[in-house]
Each structure stands twice: as C-alpha cells, then as structure tokens.
C-alpha cells in the first residue's frame, strides 16, 4: 500500500473512532434516556454510596447533559485536536491511543449513564434504586473492549518526526561569552482549561465549607484545589536559559529544574510541536524517546542527548537559543 492511501485510511479511521463513534453512541444514549424519562422518578439517583445505597440525586436532564458533555463533547475535543495534527502531516501511536481513549471514554459514559437510569424505571422514589455495581463493571468492560477495538481498526504507523530545522552556530569568539534567556508560559488553551478548573473547584470548595455538606467532600475538594494550584504554579511558566553550562529550564517557582549540560548535547534544532499529537497534551510530558516542557503549540527547542533521547521545550526565538547552544557545543568539542 502506498504512503498516501495509508495516510488517508489512518485519518478516516481516526475520524471514525474519535468523532463518529462518540457522536453515534451519545445520540443513541440520549434517545434511550429521553424515551424512558417519563417512567423515571424525579429526581433520579446519580450516585451510590459504599453499600450500594443511592446517596446522590439530581433531575433527569442533568444525567442527559452529563452524557452529552462527557460522552460527546469531551471525546470530540480530543478528536478534533488530534485530527488537526493528522491533517498537518503528523502521525504516530499517540494519535492511535488518543482515538482509542475518545471511543472508550464515550462508551463508558453513555453505557453507565443509560444503564443507571434504566434501573430506576417504574420507581416512585429514587431512594429505592437498586445497586449499580453490575452496570459499572459491565460498562468498564465494554469501554475497554470499545477502546481496544478502536485501537485495532486504526492502522499502525510509525511516529512522524517532522525534521528539526538546524541553525547556524552563533559566531562566538574564543574569549566571548553569551547567554540567551527567555520566559515561556502556558498557551491560551492550557490556560483556559487550568483557569476553568481552578474557578470551578475553587467555588466548589468554598460552597462545600460554607453550606451544610459532607466534611469528607469538603476535604477532598480542598485537596483537589491544592493539587490544581500546585500544577498551575509548577507548569504555568518557565525560565529557559542557554549559556556555557548548556540548556536549563526552570519553573518560575524554582522547581522543577531541568538541565541538559553542553557535554550531553549531541545535536539541537528548532521544531514545531503539536502538543496533543506528539505528547498527548500540554505540561511536563513524556513521549517515546522524548521529554518535553510543552506549554503551547509551535516553535520549540529540541535537543538530542548523547543517549539519543530528545528534550523539547516550547519557547519563542528558539532559533537563537539553538544557535548559541550549538556554538557552545562546538567550543566544548574543540577544547576536549
């Protein structure tokens, strides 16, 4: 098979598992949910406690909304960001996995949501709803099966490494020293997601403490808030520095501190990073053979270590940084 038809098939299959399957499953689930809605108690049980006894209740529409949100909107967001990368010429196992996760997630949400409603048909009071243990177990198995199937229908293609653009080493005299410094911060999309998460969890935490509610819930929300604040602080912005010691990437709060010494630099270049496709998202990310401080899409420094592993950091003016790093590498090699 030629490369062209493989690519076309890869994109078509990705579209099938990451867009069409979530849409189809969600449409079917919503139709069933609306069809049985008249025979359901109001409110319905949406959460079950440890003993299988319902302890959380909400109107039917909130289950439908949840099904649409987590069964279609979320997988579609994943699918569309992946599709963008594929159309730009990228490919690889990360996309295959992304597609499988989108399909599996949609299956889990639609099946468990619909099943938990179906169990409550004909009840006058949702407090008498039977346990959902079986529904959850079977939905999880179904989700895994759908995910595995979605993985298998997509062709296996090697990861594309868009070639790094090399830069001319900076013209650095024998007695000259130079330093390149720049701050890089989380791009619009990551900022939006983190910001929305902070606001929602923050409001939830305040509400949980102020309103009469379960102390355990309040504490777990507080815990989530602390984790979110820590993630924001750590991955929000980094200082990137190239000097005679090599490349250093340090979070604005001081930690973590990531370094590639000049002696460990095998090569360096400028690359255009697609976070979703190549790293599965933004943040401190690992991908096969690579580690990345990936805060946005676009221009990045890519350093290949002597071990062959790559270190990537998204930052503006990467070309100057690479030129300086190559100049120091050349100097280190000349004197050793």
């Amino acid at each position: 098979m030629t490369a062209e038809t493989t690519r076309a098939r890869m994109i078509a299959r990705f579209r099938l598992v990451a867009l069409l399957i979530p849409l189809g499953l969600t449409a079917a689930a919503v139709i069933v949910q609306l069809a049985i809605a008249p025979s359901l108690p109001d409110p319905v049980a949406i959460h079950w406690g440890v003993g299988g006894v319902p302890d959380g209740f909400a109107p039917v529409w909130s289950v439908v909304a949840m099904t649409v949100l987590a069964g279609a909107v979320l997988p579609l967001a994943m699918g569309l960001s992946g599709l963008r990368g594929l159309r730009l010429g990228d490919q690889g196992g990360t996309y295959r996995f992304l597609g499988a996760v989108a399909a599996g997630l949609s299956a889990l949400i639609t099946v468990v949501g619909t099943w938990s409603l179906a169990l409550q048909r004909g009840l006058d009071d949702a407090a008498g709803a039977p346990p959902v243990t079986t529904a959850v177990l079977v939905s999880s198995v179904v989700a895994l099966a759908v995910g595995a199937g979605a993985w298998l229908v997509q062709p296996s293609v090697p990861a594309a490494r868009r070639p790094a653009r090399t830069a001319e080493p900076l013209d650095l005299g024998a007695d000259e020293d130079a330093v390149w410094l720049r701050t890089t911060s989380l791009g619009g999309f990551g900022r939006m997601v983190l910001g929305a998460g902070l606001v929602l969890v923050g409001l939830g935490t305040v509400a949980a403490w102020l309103l009469p509610s379960d102390r355990a819930l309040a504490w777990s929300l507080t815990g989530s808030l602390v984790v979110l604040v820590a993630v924001t602080a750590v991955t929000g912005a980094f200082r990137v520095r190239v000097d005679r010691d090599g490349l250093a990437v340090t979070s604005l709060i001081g930690l973590p501190r990531l370094r590639v010494p000049v002696a460990d630099v095998e090569g360096a270049g400028v690359v255009d990073v697609n976070p979703a496709g190549e790293f599965g998202g933004v943040g401190l990310r690992t991908a096969p053979g690579r580690f990345g401080v990936v805060l946005r899409s676009g221009e990045a420094i890519q350093v290949t270590r002597r071990s062959g592993r790559q270190f990537v950091v998204t930052v503006d003016d990467a070309e100057t940084a690479v030129a300086l790093l190559l100049a120091y590498r050349a100097r280190a090699r000349a004197t050793s």
Binding site: L172, A174, D177, A178, V179, W180, L181, T320
Partner: protein, 118 residues
C-alpha cells in the same frame, strides 16, 4: 534575549551588556513591556561581576530604554519600539549605500559628520 560579552575586547563589559540589550530592542527580539533577565542570572551565566550588569541596566535606565521597579526588575519602555524603527531605517540606508558602492565605513563617517554638524 541574547546577551554577549567579549572578555578580550577593549570595550568595557558593562557597555557590551548594555549594547546587547539595545541590539535586542532594535531587532525587535525584545519588546516594550518585556522584562530583562535578573542581573544575578546574567552575571552568573556570562561570568562577569554582578555590579557590571547592574551598571549596564542603570545606564539603560538613564537613557530611558528601561524602567526599574522594585519587585518587577528592569522592564523595557516604549523607547524600545523607537529603536526598532530606527533599526529598520538604518537597514534601508545600508541597502541603498551598498547599491551605490559605498562602504560601511564611508557611510558611518558620512552619518557621523552630518549628525555632528547639526
């Protein structure tokens, strides 16, 4: 931004640091509102004295290219964009002089002569 110093040059180190900042502003690599790296970071990376870098930043403040604020460090002012504009005009001038066969040296003395006369 890129800062460079030649330890063997006759030009004082603080002037070289300041010149690097001016070049960054003139070429548009750093823009009004951008923060200069902390003097301590620069001094450590370039293997120069902290006071050398501080002196360079003070000179840049005196000429209005940066403002110094407690807690915010040295921040590039609007003057940086004027420098970028002049940079573009000089590039045009150099292009035209080259087309006429004038050397860089001749052009430089020509510009200096005119500037001194006015």
């Amino acid at each position: 931004m890129l800062l460079r110093v030649d330890h063997a040059s006759d030009t004082p180190l603080f002037e070289q640091v300041a010149a690097s900042v001016r070049t960054g502003a003139a070429t548009g690599r750093i823009r009004p509102g951008d923060r200069l790296p902390s003097a301590r970071d620069v001094a450590a990376s370039l293997d120069v004295n902290l006071h050398t870098v501080l002196r360079a930043y003070q000179d840049l403040r005196d000429e209005g290219l940066v403002t110094m604020r407690r807690g915010r460090g040295a921040v590039l002012t609007e003057a940086a964009s004027h420098l970028e504009q002049i940079h573009r005009e000089v590039l045009d001038l150099v292009e035209r002089a080259r087309a006429l066969g004038l050397s860089a040296h001749t052009l430089a003395s020509f510009v200096k002569e005119i500037a001194d006369d006015r």
